[in-house]
Symmetry: C2
Subunit: 226 residues, 2 copies
DNA sequence: AAATATACGTTGTAATTACAACAAATTTTG
DNA sequence: CAAAATTTGTTGTAATTACAACGTATATTT
């Protein structure tokens, strides 16, 4: 129970909950920290999951493996982030994905039971915990929807335009910096990096965009030309 | 307030909540039913959203439109289902998608405020409401993750195999019926129908699968041959 | 500042895909 | 049951993509 309390107290799941109540939750949820070596499964695929996992330190990949053994990275979870919460809440679904430590990683497992039927001591902070979980899930939901929206486009150009369109809205400007390098952007959009790079070139040549490294500018039909 | 109470009482959002308390919620959330014509925007893109929408009757599409006017269907919501809940919970995000009625559709809007700071009358059922919302969001989350996992594969064949792999796990069997027709499956996997159809043929010829209409059978390397 | 590592852009080729057009099969309707 | 409508399968072609290989630029390390 002596895992880095500084980290624990600052994660979103416990925001607005005092240290004392966090202690009560950890106690009620029978939390136990575990450390995993690089490459080790934190969660094995196709295994029942009724715990919410908090990454106290380290980093892990949520990966999916199909019937034929092909592996893909679904998402990355870092310090302070949680995973498994969706499956811990929807009890009867068994996750097909696994979670693999990318370096020595310490994880705290919270029994989801205390979400559904909290003990008396938790009454004071249970609602806050539910609200936090709700917000985390909602935010993940939104980002999944956005990503799906981009990926579901048929061509690399359309995927890029869809992503740029989102960035434009987010920044309220035709110009913006993106938070990815080329490889990360390609991974995010599920396309090949070099093919994407060359498509970006074509788009610039076609007068759709202008860019330099991470800085992009959208050129609508007849807007703000120089 | 006289919208079909039969539908309202049977939706998942209100499961485990008695009719009386549902009345309290609807009252506290200043719910007001509205009816929209086919093709009409229920929610316009890029508009702040702080209400949870319940489809009382009809059907709607969640669509995204980019800077250049291209439209894509993100998901479909039918009777008893809700939408907008993620954005109503994460207040500061503005949805880029819109929601368009596919036929005359009646929708009940619940002010999300009563989720965050419920009135006294709601105390008795607020936790149940939070739990329901949590479960709905978690389930959507899981299905989004699965879909992303399929779509992010690079080739049509891999997308299909990923989907079949999921179906196999779900049915605990190498044989199963899928709930889509060809066009729907193609839309779900974001590929062209006819290209997918011909890829299915090839996969059958290559001995990976066997199928007839909606019935599919996976042929692992050396498993259960006849 | 040289050496190294990392990120980015370019090009050619083989493979895959979208698209269109049509044929075959299946389901619905009168 | 026949006709019509819908769904599914097939094929060819033009366009797009993945992949590999390599050159260049930028950042980091020593």
């Amino acid at each position: 129970m002596h895992t880095d309390m500084n980290v624990i107290q600052s994660i979103e799941l416990f925001s607005g909950i005092c240290a004392e109540n966090i202690g009560i939750i950890l106690n009620c949820a029978q939390s136990n920290p575990q450390t995993f070596a690089e490459g080790e499964y934190i969660i094995k695929p196709n295994t029942e999951l009724n715990k919410i996992a908090i990454v106290v330190s380290g980093k892990a990949h949520v990966v999916s493996e199909d019937f034929w053994g092909n592996r893909t990275i679904i998402s990355e979870v870092g310090e302070g982030e949680i995973f498994g919460e969706a499956h811990a809440i929807v009890l009867y679904e068994i996750p097909t994905y696994g979670v693999v430590a990318q370096c020595p990683t310490t994880v705290l497992f919270l029994d989801a039971e205390c979400i559904h039927t909290p003990c008396k001591e938790m009454a004071a902070c249970h609602t806050q915990l539910l609200n936090n979980l709700l917000r985390i899930l909602a935010r993940k939901n939104i980002s999944y929807m956005q990503k799906m929206d981009h990926i579901s486009k048929r061509s690399t150009r359309q995927k890029l335009l869809s992503y740029f369109s989102e960035q434009m809205n987010k920044h309220h400007s035709y110009e913006f910096d993106i938070p990815f390098n080329r490889q990360q952007l390609a991974d995010y959009l599920s396309v090949d990096r070099s093919a994407m790079s060359s498509e970006l070139s074509k788009m610039q040549k076609d007068g759709l965009i202008r860019y330099n490294l991470n800085h992009f500018e959208l050129l609508g039909n007849d807007y703000h030309e120089a």
